[in-house]
């Protein structure tokens, strides 16, 4: 599903590479944690998957497509197959829960009837039934993140990228978020989650890829956050 082959990324005006000869394979339906300290290259990894950045060398395949051969024109179609969740939720403050989720479908031109059918289903999947008409400011952080996950998943992507989704959320609420991610993963969606949260990684017992200074230092199935903890 995601295939990195010897990928190096150096940002302009920087000597040290953000990713240094990284090779990794993520299969369809896997749940992978991407761990490591700040600046270790986790976010760069996610940005490369979305083709928001281009690698300096190496090849990246996502959903069977070689990203270096994918024209800019087709990048939006790649992104329709990838859902994204961030630490800061990125909801539209002037739209309610339903509208925020529907927005993702409206802007890719889905018919209204389809949107009316699918959006309530997803809102229910993330556990926000009955809150469809709340505004984001009326929701707790955990609930806002559920809205973001509903929006990321509403188009049934093949891959879900989560960049520190529990970063702004207290541990008790984080468990709920992880349950939703797990539920999404069980539908066959590949989930790639960058995180700092050792407790969550340890409790989930999923594959862990650890980055340090742009290099993969550990790739372990059913791993924990780190030996030191």
């Amino acid at each position: 599903m995601i295939h990195f082959d010897n990928v190096t990324k150096v940002y302009a005006n920087q000597n040290r590479p953000a990713l240094d000869h990284v090779s990794v394979d993520v299969d369809k339906g896997e749940f992978v944690f991407l761990v490591g300290p700040s600046g270790s290259g986790k976010s760069t990894f996610l940005r490369l998957v979305l083709k928001e950045e281009r690698p300096n060398s190496g090849t990246i395949h996502v959903a069977g497509k070689d990203l270096s051969r994918l024209s800019n024109f087709k990048v939006p179609h790649l992104r329709r197959r990838i859902g994204c969740v961030f630490q800061d939720f990125r909801l539209l403050p002037k739209k309610n829960v339903y509208e925020n989720v529907a927005f993702a479908l409206e802007v890719i031109g889905k018919p209204r009837r389809f949107i009316r059918k699918v959006v309530p289903e997803v809102i229910e999947l993330v556990g926000l039934e009955g809150k469809a008409h709340r505004m984001p400011e009326e929701l707790s952080g955990g609930e806002q993140q559920r809205v973001a996950m509903a929006r990321a998943f509403v188009n049934r992507p093949m891959i879900l990228l989560a960049d520190e989704p529990t970063g702004n959320i207290d541990p008790a609420t984080s468990i709920g978020i992880m349950k939703v991610l797990d539920r999404i993963n069980r539908t066959g969606t590949t989930v790639l989650m960058a995180t700092h949260d050792a407790a969550i990684v340890d409790s989930m017992r999923k594959r862990v890829v650890e980055l340090e200074d742009g290099k993969i230092v550990r790739d372990q199935s059913r791993g924990v956050y780190g030996q030191a903890y």
Partner: protein
């Protein structure tokens, strides 16, 4: 669905940036009106040129008794035989189409009949106006050459080339036209920059929305179209204002000076000018928006 979504986005954008939108509308209106006026003067001038150059003639005035002209000093006026001979000489020139003799009496009649000359009639008598040949040319552009070749002839007091009089008038109109076009170009540049700025502000205001749109895989067209439409709508409103200004200009100014222009500027010309300025306005808006968006909404 799609159209609905885009138009609601456009409406939000225009309302949030109301001051900038008004600035764009006004600049486009003034710029396009000036461009239109330049074009109207242009078509008026070319119509007049066609009309008048057909009527251009050389007036060859002959020496009178005691004529003050240098070329007549100390020479008696031409006899009738000499006049006939001179007429034949002029007719013999290859560029000349027709020569008419106008004697003092006919000249005075003509002079008297022109309403503008009423004041002069108290001092001017029939004998004061010279005899003349009215020379029609085959090609009005050759008038200067004919005038030159005749100027040395005995008995000719002076030659008036009507073409020169026309040229001064057309020259003035030409300057007006260039001035209007010059200001129009400056306004068009200003409009382009303003539109670019408006679109940029608009893109900045909605960076959250566009960020999410990019993320969920909205196509570039879908992301950019609302912004481009904003520019186009502002440009169109400006174009309509410009059209109104041009119609007022035609009625108040061009129709007002019709008496001096001899050829009217028709509504068909105005319609053409308005269409052209509208198209220019909208194209500028589209280009300015797209160029700006390429910088601010990159994939």
């Amino acid at each position: 669905m799609r159209a609905n979504f885009i138009f609601s986005e456009v409406w939000i954008g225009l309302r949030r940036n109301l001051t900038m939108t008004i600035a764009v509308v006004v600049t486009v209106a003034v710029g396009m009106a000036l461009l239109g006026i330049g074009l109207m003067i242009n078509s008026q001038v070319s119509k007049m040129t066609n009309y008048w150059t057909d009527k251009v003639e050389l007036s060859v005035f002959l020496c009178q008794k005691d004529s003050a002209f240098e070329s007549c000093k100390g020479k008696p006026p031409l006899t009738t035989a000499q006049k006939t001979q001179l007429q034949q000489t002029i007719e013999g020139l290859p560029e000349v189409a027709k020569v008419e003799y106008e004697d003092q009496k006919a000249a005075y009649e003509k002079f008297r009949r022109q309403p503008n000359n009423k004041v002069f009639l108290t001092v001017i008598q029939a004998g004061d106006l010279p005899d003349s040949f009215r020379v029609k040319l085959k090609d009005p552009d050759k008038s200067q050459a004919v005038a030159n070749s005749l100027s040395g002839q005995t008995g000719i007091a002076n030659i008036v080339n009507q073409r020169e009089i026309l040229d001064t008038q057309f020259g003035f109109l030409g300057k007006l036209q260039w001035m209007a076009l010059g200001v129009a170009i400056i306004m068009v540049i200003a409009a382009t920059l303003l539109i670019a700025n408006t679109v940029r502000l608009s893109a900045y205001n909605r960076r959250r929305e566009t960020g999410i749109m990019r993320l969920v895989g909205a196509s570039n067209l879908y992301i950019q179209l609302p912004f481009v439409m904003e520019g186009v709508i502002a440009g169109l409103i400006g174009g309509v204002c410009a059209a109104v200004l041009l119609i007022i200009t035609k009625i108040l100014i061009f129709d007002g000076i019709q008496a001096y222009m001899a050829v009217p500027l028709g509504w068909d010309t105005l319609a053409g000018v308005i269409t052209f300025t509208m198209v220019v306005g909208v194209v500028i808006c589209i280009l300015a928006s797209f160029v700006t968006l390429r910088r601010y909404l990159r994939v």
